[in-house]
Amino acid sequence: MRSRGAAPRAALHVGAVRGGSSGGGAPRTAGGGVPRRRTAELGLLVWVALLALAGFAAVVGAETSAFGPAVIVVPAIYLGLVLALHVFLVLRRFRGDQLLFPLAAALTAIGLVLVQRLASDLLLQQLSWALIAGGAFVATILIPRDLTTLARFKWTWAFLGLVLLVAPLLPGIGREINGAKIWVKIGPGSIEPWEAVKLLLVIFFAGYLEEYREVLAQAPRRIGRFPVPPIPYLLPIIAMWGMAMVVMVFEKDLGATLLFFGIFLAMLYLATGEAFYTLIGLALLLGGGFVAYHAFPHVAARVDIWIRPFADELRFGAGYQLVQGLFALGNGGLIGAGLGNGLPERIPVVWSDFVFDAFAEETGFLGAAALLAVYLLFVYRGMLIALRAPTTFLQLLAAGLSFIVALQTLVIVGGNARLIPLTGITLPFVAYGGSSLVTNWMLVALLMRVSDASARIRGT
């Protein structure tokens, strides 16, 4: 059944996308031709530049009580990078979306402004990471030549993802920072492998679900209104659930657990349209969470802090960070204290866990709402790209990637605002952190390549 159903379809997809990309890929560029102007993108990048300059002027000005040359240097380097990437896309005759790049660039600029504001000694490091992220962006635009090849190596990605996921648990290279064992030591620094795992997982899921979606969507039997899932094909789901739980228990990382499992459920729903699977998954997650709450003290502590952060024993203890974050949020008011004028330093580790609260304190409700609107536009655009993608694999890929950004933003902003228990997830593009910045820029490149593939096929 599966070989008959899936193989011809997959072959057709490969053919379609190959035809598209080989027509406009390297050979045509080498043969000459006019570079493709990206006017909308360039127009938006002008605003990104102004935004970055204003942000740095406000923050540096408040810190040093003068507008010195330091105001210009960092944004100039960053904007040079952004412009270089834009020129690269133009010369490459890239036809992909023109909105995602400026949106991501604006978020990264806000991130740099906030690092300057909250931890200026880390600015140089973050700027270097931005340069590396730019390199990763270029590499993802260039290789592989055909995005569909990603689907063919799906089990490789799954295996690689698993290795990266358990790497922090291995003695010698694993590291525990701030209570979570999610770091791997490489050379002088350390990276968070799960940031890369999220991309690998989306690629794997997209490839797997493209192949088996029909088997999963047309359940052979139903009990009443509920489909009986074909168990062998669901084994990967159960395996994922188990893995998410293992991560939660051994690496003490609630955020990654939520993210991995959320991505999986969302993509399963997108591929099969079977809400019941999602409900089962949510029930499993809640069940696992309930057990974990009673079995593991660090999970229970998170929930406690969430429910009663102002309790006497938590306010100045484990709940201090969240309480200070809530004060910062409240202090912001409508237009905020002004960039550089608030007291976000009072929140411990504010530059990585609580950037949203810091931004909300200094730019107020207006600034925070605008920031969320930028994310909303990004995700909306990503989902539109998914809707218009030419093949099932590319559709699932684009939808999954957009969903990563949506869920990550939701989980960390919700955590910062005490809507849900706080987890150590990063605010995409904005929070301090190299691994996160690099993988998020690769994510942007992948999304843009999906839209490039559909633009080439439809000839627009």
């Binding site: 127009g43 605003w47 942000g55 002004g338 609107a373 930028v374 439809r458």
Partner: protein, 146 residues
């Protein structure tokens, strides 16, 4: 009023917020423009010409509906036709409308109630010009250029 550093700093802070919103507005309108462009591509007429419904009984089909035409079109009540007319007076396979040698031709496919062009019943294959009215059953259709 003297423009002090503090005033300037506040101006920059406000400017940051304003710029953030201007960026958002620009991004939003860029999104809308690209959506409109995509829609224009999607709305590009599918057919080479149209049949526009002039009169019908009980809104089947709706008056003003534009039915896209291909090079060869069968017209009738059956769902298998290229132009489906849900009218009791139309035959299952009523007429054939085709584009050949730069002209439109209509032919009755042996219908019960006959086919009319500009009010006159057709006997053989008849030429049809843009603006002519075609009557099939109780439905009147006008041929229009794409």
């Amino acid at each position: 009023m003297e423009i002090t550093f503090a005033v300037l700093l506040w101006a920059v802070r406000i400017a940051f917020l304003v710029l953030l919103y201007l960026f958002l507005v620009r991004a939003f309108s860029a999104l809308q423009r690209s959506l409109a462009a995509e829609q224009a591509v999607a709305a590009r007429p599918a057919g080479i010409a149209f049949l526009v419904v002039q009169r019908s009984v009980r809104g089947a089909p709706r008056v003003g509906e534009r039915m896209p035409l291909r090079a060869v079109n069968s017209i009738g009540r059956d769902a298998g036709n290229d132009v489906v007319l849900n009218d009791e007076a139309a035959s299952a396979r009523h007429a054939l409308l085709e584009f050949a040698d730069g002209e439109w031709w209509v032919e009755d496919s042996g219908s019960t109630n006959g086919t009319l062009v500009n009010g006159e019943s057709i006997r053989s294959r008849e030429r049809l010009q843009y603006g002519d009215e075609l009557a099939v059953g109780r439905v009147a259709l006008r041929l229009e250029q794409a």
